[in-house]
Amino acid sequence: MAQDDEDRRAWFRREILSLEPDLTAYARQFCRDGQTDPEDLVHETFARAIACRTWREVSNPAAFATRILRNCALDALRRRKVLTITAVADFERIEPMDEAPGAQTVLESREELRALADAIAELPAQCRRAFTLRKVYSLSPEDIAVRMGLSVSTVEKHLVKGLRYCSDKLGRRIGRKNKVDEGRSWSAKRDHDAKR
């Protein structure tokens, strides 16, 4: 039983969690009028996906997760008091996500390292320092507390804050705001927009 649960969680990590940037992008299509938070839809999708006892029979995880997300979006729509004229129309129009994510979510290792360092650099100073000592130098929270003259629980708070910031950042598409990419893919992006 315990082993089975471990296998199920490993499947979730490997097949479903890695879809997060794509799922978030997909979820945004259901949230165009700003009434629902796309990240809430993804959060709920994860909770429903990990609950799946028959995960071994899921042949296409992307299609599976997309179907759940659609249901979450539909439930959110039903809970609403005010329906905007496009929300329902949008819902009819949005097609299931076609494929498992391709190369675009798999970052080159150097690129990933830079993305992570960028995320840390954006943290407030004390938080960044505690995080650097924990993750770059592998010091324990106690050691960090002594070094920085803080309580262990304050160090924990900094680490939690840093982790929360980074995990959200990793869940979105990395590098999209990159100037080089934007300059280079501008015409492609417009084509993409036009198709939508």
Binding site: F12, A117, D118, V136, S167, K179, G183
Partner: protein, 331 residues
């Protein structure tokens, strides 16, 4: 950095992150582990949130690769100003080459230079990003034009027509936007949108801060604008009001090729669509002008917008000989 701490999602994720940090602490006790098991067993929401934070935590172990050999711990190693000097993070020559090529391509296409100034323009329905030599960015909306002049230690950009978003790169030289006779001095790293109207203009500061002088020839009524403030001004003066992030996002939805409506009247919505399209929409019956709309539409698809309006309201659409779509009351 700030997130809505009140949300249920955030509460669960915070709790999950705390467990991840605790369980990875060498001094984590058996009682702590038991408490974690109990928490995780409470719901699949907890279970999934924990996996998500744990995976991110594990990915962050890659940062160890940045540790300089044999040094004592340096807690400011990842400070923003120092990061670029880290060997593991230097950009590859290929990436640097691409960046230069991208800038060159943007500067060459469709730009007209006269001496020291360069003009960039868009046609109706077009959008465009211009990256300047100092890495400042200008994003032009439909039917817009700017003239850029960098000289005498000043970065000056004049908005001649339409609407644009300006992102001033950090630089010792001031970044000045001229629009409708006013002077807007942008703070370093600031981002703001300026839109010209029939009489005056509106400036919305999204990031950083700016100084607005609506009429420099008259004298001193400068206004300090900070992020989240919009100011409407004309030659006679200006008025600032706070705007929410959502409101700013809606006003700038055109950057994603969209018009975001949130309770605007049909009349306002039609005027907005007409900015982006040669095919114009007109309201022939004043009694429908005040209908309120919400939703998200493609700027270049007036027909989709018209279809949504006619299906939601008692409105009829007819197309006249010159292609104009006329809206009138149905029944």
């Amino acid at each position: 950095m700030e997130r809505e701490t009140g949300s249920r999602r955030e509460t669960v994720r915070q709790a999950a992150a705390l467990w991840v940090v605790r369980l990875d602490d060498p001094s984590c006790s058996d009682a702590d582990r038991a408490a974690f098991q109990a928490w995780r067993d409470q719901s699949h929401e907890h279970e999934a949130a924990f996996e998500r934070e744990a995976v991110a935590w594990a990915r962050l172990d890659r940062l160890r690769a940045l540790r300089p050999p044999g040094e004592r711990p340096d807690r400011d190693l990842l400070e923003p100003a120092r990061r670029s000097s880290l060997p593991g993070l230097s950009r590859s020559p290929w990436a640097r080459g691409m960046a230069a090529a991208a800038v060159a391509a943007l500067v060459v296409t469709g730009a007209m230079s006269f001496g020291t100034s360069t003009a960039y323009a868009t046609a109706i329905g077009e959008r465009r990003v211009v990256v300047l030599s100092d890495n400042s960015r200008i994003e032009l909306n439909t039917n817009s034009k700017v003239v850029v002049r960098y000289r005498n230690g000043v970065r000056e950009v004049k908005l001649v027509r339409g609407e644009a978003v300006f992102e001033a790169a950090k630089d010792a030289r001031p970044f000045v936007i001229r629009a409708e006779g006013a002077i807007i001095e942008s703070g370093n790293g600031a981002e703001m949108a300026v839109r010209l109207g029939s009489n005056g203009a509106i400036v919305t500061v999204r990031k950083g801060a700016a100084e607005l002088d609506p009429n420099p020839s008259v004298g001193h009524d400068e206004m300090s604008l900070k992020a989240g403030v919009a100011a409407v001004y004309s030659a006679v003066g200006g008025q600032a009001r706070p705007v929410s992030e959502n409101e700013i996002d809606r006003a700038l939805a055109w950057r994603q090729g969209a018009i975001a409506l949130n309770g605007q009247s049909l009349e306002q919505a039609v005027a907005e669509f007409n900015r982006y399209n040669r095919q114009q929409v007109s309201i022939t019956d004043p009694s429908i002008s005040g209908l309120r709309l919400a939703g998200y539409f493609q700027t270049t698809e007036p027909k989709g917008f018209v279809a949504a309006v006619t299906s939601a309201f008692p409105v009829r659409a007819t197309e006249s000989a010159d292609g104009t779509i006329r809206l009138s009351r149905r029944g």
